[in-house]
């Protein structure tokens, strides 16, 4: 799925203060903050999810994300618009990285801006939880000396082993 042409691509959707995107590139904290920056906002809350080097203590040597791009974007935008309305945000931006992501790098960034900080804190947390619940993106963890595993967020347990 991740052919060489795709490496250069970015997929995005925008709507009134909401911006969501998927990319194979490194994620950039400044870019996403600038998406939500506004003179009417008094706070920007930024969440950066980074790739961990272990699952329940087992060493993970690499991770790869795949996605159903058009549906994942649609779901991301629906999360963004609903959270923006619920918390009265000025802006919200969510971006997720796809393809291989080296350990310790950002796999997801969420930035929200609002007139006051309380709403931004709450909205940021809720946005992440809804993404992990619903967005059509899948993570595969490769372990040293073992088969890879497709993770499932919903059970927080070890996913199903993959034999290839």
């Amino acid at each position: 799925m991740a052919d060489s042409q795709e490496q250069e691509q970015q997929w995005e959707l925008s709507e009134e203060g909401c911006h969501v995107s998927l990319t194979h590139d490194n994620l950039n904290v400044n870019t996403i903050m600038d998406r939500v920056r506004s003179p009417s906002a008094g706070a920007i809350v930024l969440f950066a999810g980074t790739t961990r080097d272990n699952f329940a203590g087992k060493p993970v040597h690499s991770l790869t994300y795949t996605s159903y791009h058009p549906l994942a974007l649609r779901t991301l935008l629906s999360i963004a618009t609903s959270i923006k309305a619920t918390h009265g945000l000025t802006g919200i931006a969510i971006t997720h990285r796809l393809g291989p992501v080296p350990i310790g790098e950002e796999s997801i960034l969420i930035a929200v801006s609002s007139p006051h900080r309380q709403a931004a804190w709450r909205a940021g947390e809720q946005a992440l939880e809804e993404c992990k619940d619903r967005v059509e993106i899948w993570k595969r963890e490769e372990f040293t000396g073992e088969e890879g595993v497709w993770r499932a967020n919903r059970d927080g347990k070890m996913g199903v082993k993959v034999t290839e």
Binding site: M1, G49, Y65, T66, S67, Y68, H69, P70, L71, A72, R74, H96, S107, I108, L128, C131, K132, D133, R134, V135, E136, I137, W138, K139, R140, W150, R151, A152, N153, R154, D155, G159, V160, V162, T163, E164
Partner: protein, 94 residues
């Protein structure tokens, strides 16, 4: 990934474990096919896929989630030529 299927077919997309088990990202399957027969059709093609993936997955048709009638139920939905169907295993973004 979402290329147009040949005439008389719908396109089915496989993600995560579904893709690992089938060895494919996508393939065309003959249409029309009642939605209630989708899982048994896939089980026929990929023995074991039902218990390993399908039963814990959601299904979309043209990017809308649908209820797959359980075994024995008839259901009225039919997958049509040109439809884009996807098997959505439990997600793991973040």
């Amino acid at each position: 990934m979402s290329s147009t299927p040949p005439p008389g077919h719908f396109q089915i997309l496989y993600f995560a474990l579904a893709s690992s088990l089938t060895g494919k990202d996508a393939e065309p399957l003959p249409a029309p096919l009642p939605l209630s027969q989708l899982f048994s059709k896939l089980e026929e093609l990929y023995p074991g896929i039902k218990s390993q993936v399908l039963e814990s997955s959601l299904v979309t048709v043209n990017m809308e989630y649908v209820d797959v009638p359980s075994r024995g139920e008839e259901g009225e939905a039919v997958l049509q030529e040109g439809d884009e169907v996807a098997i959505i295993p439990p997600v793991s973004s973040g």
